[in-house]
Symmetry: D3
Subunit: 294 residues, 6 copies
């Protein structure tokens, strides 16, 4: 008794239904929807992020006019959305680490779509176990370096402190950091490019990339972007990177380093406003283009 | 190279992630998300209906207090969302008819989630080919009996005229019909219970069920409900059935007839308003409970 | 030099563009959009009411299945939206009275679309000058009988007190009245059917109609409806009339009295929610059908 | 150095600014805003409930036309909004119990505004310690009788199970209960009036009140109302009480029993839709009127 | 029998009601609302664009502080909104071409307000027939050069390919083009300024204007702007022109060329967000100011 | 009989509940919520500005990474929201002037949160009476220099003309001024930095600060910001200051002049969009940081 096969690919996969869905074996890239949403403060809704990003991705043009390339033929396989709403936080994070490890072992390029920033640490753990000397490039408004927040060490406010247990970090666009985090900085393996002064130095992109080791994991908290461009985040902060700055930094990173995996997190869809969902989807496709353009 | 297996069921299936997803073989019921959205007038958005209904379904309580039963253990298998946004309308409808036929041949109870009302005709065609003398019970504000609308015979405004080519119809809750449709009524095999007078007869539910043959297909256009309860439709009409009336009619239909399949169509999610999505999801689960309670 | 003539009627007129726009001479009914919006408290937005009601009216089915009639061929002429946002309140009200008088003198049936309830008084003044012994039937949640409100005698909270200067009133659905208004009641020519007790009397509709004189002006403040059906009003009040009750009252009124003009006021469109706009448009068409059905 | 005194009362207190704020000593009633919002599933936002309810309360008419009374002169004192977003759940609940106790000891009638349903248990604890044989009248869609939910005994899904540790309960409007709760019912001191059958008995209101002891605490989860009237809740359920049924039940309860305190919980404001906030505010004022009308 | 004349101009015309509406004969400029909305993908709503833009225009200041001029006294006549929702696409486009031609023959400066981009081609056809060697300046995120899209040669995705049949094009701000369009470029009379590199050349505005012939038609798809400024479009693309860049380009174009007509298309109003509607209205007035400032 | 004391500070005060609320005596800064909302044209809603800004302020990080300081320990006391919805405009403005004066006399740094721009004039009157030679620095899109608007001299469109009666003004970011205001400029003590040309001069910030006298009052109409960043205003104007420009101007002003008080006005919250509320709250905290950093 066979499950019915459709005439075209089903619709909720990254890139929409323009093409047939590749087999897992044939795909060079894997999209993992991870709608973890437990500790996000202020307004909730990152649980809806992967679903809305993937729905918007059907509108992304497959040809990239910047690089003159269409990389979707390398194969983009979208895993089903993980169920992360129940059970313990520890089980959720362990599940993420295991799944990411399997994707890495299959030789795929992984892009995980959040959900809150807490998903980064277990995926970096899986990546660091496979790439010695991995550095994390973090684009974010918040340092997320608290050791615990409201008695919770797995809070998204601690996302990068947990990540530091697995890899060194370069943080870009930071414009929200607490006194407690500043006090802890001397003991942490992190390099911070603060938003308020990094762009006083026209060479900041080059310097940020220079701070990275050969193997890089990229984590993009969408609130690293200017909230004018990206209002659909839980804790918007004025200032931040423009689309041009963000893509400039990413392109140089992909050109000069080996990016082993990425995540795009904290999309908090605003009912009735599709523009942020689409921009996040386009960002994911930009990452794929920069990775596979050659 | 195996696709990673999650620790629990993936999240975008009917009923959420409370339980493991049953195998297709073991499932008694199949949910088919069919976001067809081409001809809906006024406000668009039925393309988002299946996705939002299924997301809301994670909140539906599995125990039904009316009948004292939990039917989810009979197995509810959610097919992937069909891709119906491109290609010709004829191809989309043919694909629906083929997929529905396969589900029927596997002996499953099928509930299709629209999308616009045009999906009903091909599914009824598949059902009528397997159940001689099938009648369709339609709950709707609109008669949908035009032979063509804006030169399009597959418009949702013609949904039931197309369906009449395969089965007789009993229409309930009708409060929007054109002069052109009224003129055509004498030649059509349909029984209409108009909203403005059916409830002057306390026995209207019994009479509607009496008009049905032993085998019944149920199609529920959500605008058949009072828009106070269900505002999330493309063409709301004041008046209409209350939740109590709708479930009363459905319960008696399932008790006294053999319902072979159902659809729930025309959910047009309103950004920021979850109540209609949840009510639609609960309605789908009510259909399953009425079907499998014994 | 002639203004270009379109191939069909322009789109922003009541009933949409299904038919050619009749000439003013040939039209039996006139729609007057009057977006007065100055004193509405709580949330503003009645200034958008006429525009959204007329946009929604394009979706109203012209055939009325309750009475089996299509009255649009009697001719419905939509005047341009009046400009009432600037200038003094007195000038705005005087302009309304003059325009309404001209429409009456041309022998047309006038339906004015608000805008706030303050528009009723000058139109009733024009009607009462032409119909001796006119009674006003008011459907409303609020008595609106204050002599002044925040030092303003033209506030919508005083709409019916001003109207009383021209005609006797029958008020239906009232569930908001102040102590000050209750004290004034003995001296006022008004009959109130309070929402909380009128429906304890199954004959309330007959009694309300019996209280009317032969010539009647109907003013419908949309908050007279249950806010479940009609949330798009500035000051919603729980309770109120259902669609079935409202249309039952209106039908009997038109059958047993001569209705000389109507208004539908206080539509405060809610962004993203079209259902209330459509219900208001359908109500206007119901008034036309009840008027011209014979 | 004195804090500046305004010419009128400040604006964010129940009933708006129509009158001067009474002194705490002089007030017969106390409003306690308790925006607890930790475990609400599906959509968050009950943290905004007290703020929006109180903002809407400025529009509530002080004269009650049903009872012919204006009770605001008995004095309504609004406490500042409690800060319940941080710290442990146990501390938050203990704080609520202590504050409620102080208000009771001062001889005030307390209405607490949630926030999620978890606030009820500590307040009932405080009330039961002062009123022997207290019964709780609960209007709700959900039984909320789980012993724990997702390993949390203080979840709102357990609100009434916790409350049962302090008082017997009569539950009205229930239409969502799990198999696990049904199994536990025989051992629990609760009487349930299920929504799907209670209104088959025209005497249900009398029977519900008969089930109450002389001293009563009333807890109203707004999802007990029909979601057509009250969509602004976290987990809407079709069916439920109408405004007329709810106020009928409440009026009889106040007439025949001594109500010692109330709460109104789970208002989840919907951005852009003021009607539910206003209805909730009117409900609070109805409670005050029923309490003090004599 | 005369239609009533108001004391001031009616309200739904460009510029609001600050002044009397000029006669068609006396007006130098004509605004044509053309809410064509058939093929727009993703989110619909351009049909509401003209209505919302004109409603917002009442807030535009008539004095332009950049040029120190108030051009409204040259006369701005707003035609009624065309009815383009029914009938065939070919008839709609032919109607547009005919109406535009009549306006041109009357010697007026025409600004058409969309509606989707498909309206441009017939208007350019009318303009090119009257201005030999006309060039089109297109501001847009999308090249819109497909020969057909989903089997439809009149799709908005083909808008400029159709326009090329009447005039040469200069395209600015392009950041979405398909492989199929890139392949076709060598045979097309178009000059593209891609968004990702045009601003690396500080002289890009001068070069774009230099590429234009003496007579110019300007078509502005609002998605050419950065979506931070203009989110209310059907298919937003990150990047794009700032307000300063757009007005800089337009001012130089009007100063150095003869602009014969313009259109502003693809406004897809977002419920609850007025800023984009206002910006679009201000853009239309800027075009008028640049045209008539001398 | 004591009012209950909470375990932590109540929640609706600036900065949220991270710390205990200081006593009025101990506080160096005072926040005055002044939701005046009477004459705002186009869309209303500034009455909700203070409430939403203060709710958002709970998310502002207390450590400022730009200056390396946490100033909240200087004490920030939030006064209750003033009631300004009823009574005459003159009484409201007189109340504001009196309260501001009391705060000044207590030696506090006052930040008033609007509400519409009309609140500025009485507060400047109080400040100017205590600081000889005070200059006002106004960031705004609109000159607001009309002597009267729609016959109202207290309209927000006249806010700065009224303010000029108490102090000289420097206006920055202006991009909306009427012909009538331009004509009056020669006789007014104001210096205008127009948006369209001020940034052609890289030294514009220095020049704006140079134009200020030693004692400065800062009034920030949020529409001075680019609407991409700040769409939540009643009359958005394209162009305007970026966050970087605004904070650069403010920092230099605080460094080189003595700022005696500030206001932040015209926040018109958009339902469902929290980003503008948060940015406004962060701006208020930036003002406090710049004031107390040393």
């Amino acid at each position: 008794m066979a499950i019915p096969v459709y005439d075209s690919a089903p619709s909720l996969q990254f890139g929409g239904a323009l093409t047939e869905m590749p087999s897992y074996e044939a795909a060079a890239a894997v999209i993992l929807p991870a709608p973890l949403d437990r500790t996000t403060s202020y307004i909730s809704g990152t649980r809806n992020g992967p679903r809305e990003l993937i729905a918007a991705s059907a509108q992304v043009e497959l040809w990239d006019e910047e690089l003159g390339a269409d990389v979707h033929e390398r194969g983009i396989f979208t895993l089903p959305e993980m169920e992360l709403a129940s059970g313990t936080m520890q089980a959720a994070l362990a599940g993420l680490q295991r799944v990411a490890g399997q994707v890495f072992d299959a030789g795929k390029f992984l892009i995980t779509i959040g959900g809150e920033h807490s998903i980064t640490s277990p995926i970096v753990a899986a990546a660091a176990a496979r790439h010695r000397g991995l550095t994390v490039l973090q684009i974010d408004a918040h340092a997320d370096l608290r050791d615990s927040y409201q008695d919770d060490r797995d809070s998204h406010a601690c996302a990068m402190r947990r990540t530091l247990e697995h890899a060194r970090i370069v943080q870009v666009g930071i414009r929200n950091i607490s006194a407690e985090e500043v006090d802890a900085l001397p003991g942490l393996e992190t390099t911070i490019f603060y938003d308020w002064n990094m762009r006083n130095d026209p060479a900041w992109i080059a310097k940020a990339v220079d701070a990275l080791s050969p193997a890089v994991y990229v984590t993009i908290d969408l609130d690293g972007l200017d909230p004018a461009t990206m209002p659909a985040v839980g804790t918007p902060e004025p200032g931040g990177l423009s689309w041009r700055e963000l893509t400039g930094l990413l392109r140089r990173t992909f050109e000069q380093r080996t990016v082993v995996a990425c995540d795009v997190v904290e999309l908090c869809p605003i009912p009735g406003l599709v523009s942020p969902n689409f921009i996040a989807a386009k960002l994911v496709y930009k990452l794929l283009t920069y990775k596979f353009k050659s």
